[in-house]
Amino acid sequence: MAATTQTIEQVEQATGKYKYGFVTDIESDKAPKGLNEDIVRFISAKKDEPEWMLEWRLKAFRRWQTMTAPDWAKLDIPPIDYQDIHYYSAPKQAQKLKSLDEVDPELLATYEKLGIPLNEQKMLANVAVDAVFDSVSVATTFREELSKAGVIFCPISEAIRDYPELVQRYMGSVIPIGDNYFAALNSAVFTDGSFVYIPKGVRCPMELSTYFRINEQNTGQFERTLIIADDESYVSYLEGCTAPQRDENQLHAAVVELVAKTDAEIKYSTVQNWYPGDENGKGGIYNFVTKRGVCRGDRSKISWTQVETGSAITWKYPSCVLRGKDSVGEFYSVALTNNMQQADTGTKMIHIGEGSRSTIISKGISAGKSQNCYRGLVHMQPTAENARNFTQCDSLLIGDKCGAHTVPYIVSRNPSAKIEHEATTSRISEDQLFYCLQRGIGEEDAVSLIVNGFCKEVMKELPMEFAVEAQKLIGISLEGSVG
């Protein structure tokens, strides 16, 4: 069976409840609860890290202790007890894995259930996967084939050991350890994530993908991803995430750094489907993520595409620093909230380079009693001669108990820069709904059809395999929101 069909079918089987809510019964190796310097040392030791990495972590930890959590977002975040979380959890298994055959079959079964077959014969056509389970990467596929092209795609813990000079040069260069509270926390305790290096002139021969799964109870997930695209290279990277259905809230504080050099292009797509909590707002993931890319070289390009349907609370602003001359930043986002979900998400486009251009297309959909806020910054620095930005923020409301908010910040320090901002807020009109119903299309299907139409400009930016899944996901996430 074609992998795409398989994905579609698996999504179709979903009954409308969160279908990834199962727990895998697997023995794990955990750090005791709580956070202090010893835990940071414990994580570093578990990862067999060099001294410089430990020092970096400790510096971040000390910095974090002096910081406070940001409170400017339109979010109601209950207090988080950082001492009540396990900062390290790994599935117990033989030390080194030489091939997928050595991966615990329970784990493989889990990914199978999630629709991410790791078995290479059954792989999604031309997609290499790195699977991160709780704190560690359990499998990375297609590595050999990628290495023939000179592409490095491996868990970041391995990169720290095997490519220390690359990691030392770039880690923290886009998001410094003291950037914000959650980034500092991540820098101290990050456990795994993916590392990608595309050498000069190489077009990565396949889509790269990381699949994140939180399984353990009371565990935080702090992954760290670093992607470097050298001169004239290209890579498309996909990220997916799920978690079991639990009554407690779990913290996910990731950091993603992208570096695009001269004429390089990075396309980063996310389908975020962390457990959103139940209809009364019990449980769910706190998704506090820092993502930023820097277009270092001239004519470089970074494009963020995200479809966010999960998490109880989302705090996330994938950004571009457009340093290179004529560099390009793009942000395409669909953020859907239902029931009691809260999302404060958007982007920052920092224009430094002459002739830099950015496009922001944001589609927010609020249903149930949810609150959905777009927050975005477009900053034209004095050097950004003839830079341009176009922003379009559309909000769609379903029902009368939800909220949509748009908070654009615009700073222009260069008189030649052009900034355009368009925003709309609408409801699914009764006319549209009746028109679909009159054609025999059921109400939920009709809403899903209209909402997918509303998001189309963003959906078409997703790679094929993800687009189909994302479309179905939107339908599923909206179930129960009408009638």
Binding site: F434, C436, A446, G453, C455
Partner: protein
């Protein structure tokens, strides 16, 4: 024999305002009926009441299709039972591709009938064939539903949907409004192709000119929420000559 559609002493209100005040009408399979009436007589209300739109409340009487009451059925259930409404003002669905929309509608019918859903390729072929007869271009089929369509294109698109869904009872609400002579001819030809012994039509119009193209078997004059007069196709000509006032006096 059971009538296809039987409207019995139908009363309906919009808000607190009574609009339909006792309509009786029986339509058999294969027949084409026209309802004519001045503005505000209740023509559009009647089409929405038949289709089951929210806000159009039936306060008395009944509507039976194949002997079964429609009143408890949702609009989508009525549609799947064979009730089709060609809208006076077709609604735009931004971003919703025409093909996905049409396929969703056809598949909803198929699922109801316990048939397999139609695949994309087979469907495109069928749509193209039917579209050709109505002068609908491939380009139009690729666009979002009704977005940026001219008045004539929207009406043709309604008829295309009727051709694909093959309803047993089709209600055409002011299909002639906003059409120039040429567009009217194309749309009418499309409708005439769909006249079928297995299908009935109810053509709602203000003007007689549409009925030169779609010739009805019966004509009813609606005024102030009641059918004032019924007759053959010659009744439409009478209206043309002496206006609604004249006909109403005769009632």
């Amino acid at each position: 024999m059971t009538a296809l559609l039987e409207i019995r002493d139908l009363h309906a209100s919009v808000g607190d305002k009574p609009i339909l005040k006792g309509i009786d009408l029986t339509i058999n399979t294969g027949e084409v009926h026209a309802i004519m009436g001045p503005n505000g007589s209740g023509k559009s209300t009647m089409s929405y009441v038949l289709a089951g739109r929210d806000g159009y409340e039936v306060t008395g009487g009944d509507i039976l299709m194949n002997g079964e009451s429609l009143l408890e059925m949702e609009p989508d259930e009525r549609a799947r039972a064979g009730m089709f409404l060609a809208f006076q003002y077709p609604v735009e669905l931004p971003g919703v591709g025409g093909m996905s929309f049409l396929r969703a509608a056809v598949n909803a019918l198929r699922i109801e009938a316990g048939e397999e859903e139609i695949d994309q390729l087979g469907f495109v072929k069928i749509v193209r064939e039917k579209a050709k007869l109505l002068g609908i271009s491939d380009d139009m089929l690729k666009r979002a539903v009704n977005v940026g369509f001219s008045g004539g294109e929207k009406k043709r698109y309604e008829i295309l949907q009727m051709a694909l869904l093959e309803p047993t009872m089709a209600v055409l609400d002011e299909t002639d409004s906003g059409l120039d002579v040429d567009a009217l001819r194309i749309v009418s030809e499309g409708v005439n192709l769909l006249r079928d012994p297995g299908r009935a039509m109810l053509v709602i119009t203000h003007y007689q000119r549409l009925l030169n193209h779609i010739v009805p078997d019966y004509v009813h004059i609606l005024a102030d929420g009641r059918i004032r007069k019924s007759g053959g196709k010659e009744l439409a000509l009478e209206v043309e000559e002496s206006g609604y006032a004249g006909v109403d006096d005769a009632a």
